[in-house]
Symmetry: C2
Subunit: 383 residues, 2 copies
């Protein structure tokens, strides 16, 4: 919590030529504790190995090709993206294969995706034949083949075909389309948001549901080679979902306040925080910091209606009650420390994925030292 | 609502060489109706002229130097920014002066702000002497002068000095600091969120409060030359706040669903929308579009707890009930039209400022035609 005083300003290019410290960074800045991040990555990779699961992390969380490469080095067998723009950026990590967990619609995106498919194997997860026909056409025109996973709705009610006859018909439709290779099924269990008793019951239900889906598909002569699913909250319960062959956690690389409060990590497993500066204390008991919704995103706590936007590492009793675009409001009455203009604080955001998307750079730190500066190259790749 | 079919993909560079149409744009894309935008800009400029008010728009809403230049051409007398990075970007509009409506803390930012002050007159609005002393030191070192506005809290309870003795003492402190020129007072009436009876009463209270503040400052020999305030909801009521000399609306250039539902504009005054594509209809009565919180921001409606994230122009009965990062959920049961995968929809976001911040490009359109493509140069300038 050093005051920002007379330290010289530094640019990202200085990093390799001389040591750099957190106190030299201007705020707001997105920090990643490298020791915690590496521990998170190793733990997930070991878990996946122990349970004979492929680990295919969703890179939307970090959006940094260098970090995708690290995930691959530590045992990931492929990566996941949501957008074609992310796929293009993530080619920088030289992935052996790439799953686009999103239905890609429209000629422009499909042409770009076909170009990606010339450089690595691409699989698309989708839930409708309109998208599948477009994908097949694009593959034919570009002389490539796409893998496809039939997306199944296992309870979130977002995308995905309802299990049963509809799914069987959809997969039969996929098999009729040339230049597509049916690999299996995929799903996102986003309805399981915390690991309380309800959540654990939902995991058991998911296990039963998938077993019955797969039994049906086998009966129909459509056995899935790949059963791809998972999320960060369910990550370390994946072995209980016996049909799974592949898991796709994203947030696990950093974790966040949502993960922690969902019971899916400990506070010390949160690797990412945002460094901010106190800019006003004009109202007694309140502190204003230089990060608001354009720095943290206005995502609320997933499992709770509590209007609180982050956890202040240096003042755990302070409540992050409100945000405007560039202002964060801390209720400092129970902060336990006196906060003054110029003080610097690190805050763990509720949702790290949307927060990362707002930052141009990410700083990898160990202790006080900044060891890496990454461009968030996949940031804002909306298309 | 044309299906995206075999149209060739276009790049922004094509714009000057040949005609371009909305149907050629990939989604999600941020569209600005130029006729509506120009009407919004002219109307505010005429209002300001009629009431002898300086108009100093907050450029955080659009973040595009070309649009700041247009505001200046149409009658704005200066511009406002929140961050030093925005000030740097907005030098591209050649503003005659520039107000930073945010306390700037820390040597690195202040050095950069002093560099801006060598190119145009810079005024900073602040509420504490810590920030003022740093600003004075930076001005001395860089051989520049900064204007200062004492920020007054008129009811939002965010930043700003409480009116009364504290404000008098603060301004006396400002006057003792060299290289700073005391210009007057500034405020942001963000507590006035809609133009219902409560809002109109709050405007009357604000008028009385400011008159008493100014009377006191005159008595103390500290008369403000500038009284700078205002917001988009209060824009066309500024003449009722008699002490005002300058208004700083931001959102008014585009307006948004918040402005509309606050009673501060009509739906047809909303210039900005986000073009999205339907990517899944797997769940009956629900439509998934390819924009979520990374495209719209998760900002809710300001004056209401209603969890609805935008207004669908082509299907006004559809309710935008939920978002994930890349998924928007529309409850289509009352949409009034049949929506299919591949359909394209324009959605007016709740809060256009945070939505613009998520886009790399902004497309200026008239009818079906794309007439301009701007880089959102001030996007993500967090520091």
């Amino acid at each position: 919590m050093a005051r920002q005083a007379g330290f010289p300003s530094v640019s990202a290019d200085d990093i390799l030529s001389r040591p750099m410290f957190i106190r030299q960074l201007d705020t707001p800045a997105l920090l990643v504790d490298l020791d915690v991040m590496e521990r998170n990555l190793r733990r997930a990779a070991e878990y996946a190995r122990a349970h004979d699961l492929r680990l295919r992390p969703h890179t939307k969380t970090h959006k940094v090709p260098e970090l995708a490469r690290r995930q691959l080095e530590l045992g990931a067998t492929g990566i996941t993206v949501a957008k074609v723009g992310e796929a293009e950026v993530m080619l920088g990590a030289d992935p052996p294969d790439l799953l686009v967990a999103y239905p890609i619609i429209g000629r422009s995106k499909l042409e770009r995706l076909a170009a990606v498919a010339r450089r690595t194997r691409v699989t698309v997860m989708l839930d409708n034949l309109h998208a599948a026909r477009q994908l097949s056409d694009a593959a034919r025109e570009a002389h490539v083949e796409f893998g496809v996973l039939a997306e199944v709705d296992v309870g979130l009610g977002r995308t995905g075909v309802t299990p049963g006859d509809e799914l069987v018909e959809f997969i039969r439709g996929l098999l009729r389309l040339p230049y597509l290779s049916y690999e299996g099924i995929g799903f996102y269990p986003g309805h399981i948001r915390s690991l309380d008793n309800d959540g654990l019951n939902q995991i058991e239900e998911l296990d039963r549901l998938l077993n019955s889906v797969i039994e049906r598909l086998r009966r129909e002569g459509l056995p899935p080679r790949v059963v791809s699913g998972g999320s960060t909250p369910t990550l370390y319960h994946s072995h209980r979902i016996r049909a799974l062959t592949e898991i796709r956690p994203g947030t696990y690389i950093f974790n966040d306040r949502n993960t922690w409060l969902a019971g899916a990590c400990k506070p010390e497993d949160c690797a990412a925080s945002i460094l901010v500066t106190v800019v006003s204390t004009s109202r007694p008991g309140q502190v204003i910091v230089d990060g608001g919704s354009k720095t943290f995103s206005s995502d609320r706590l997933a499992p709770s209606p509590e209007p609180s936007f982050g956890y202040v590492l240096e003042a755990p009793g302070a409540v992050f009650t409100r945000m405007n675009e560039e202002h964060g409001y801390l209720d400092a009455r129970k902060a336990g420390v006196e906060l003054a203009v110029g003080d610097r604080l690190r805050i763990i955001p509720n949702h790290i994925c949307t927060a990362v998307n707002l930052h141009e750079k990410m700083y990898g730190v160990r202790g006080d030292r900044v060891e890496a500066v990454w461009e968030v190259a996949g940031r804002g790749k909306l298309q």
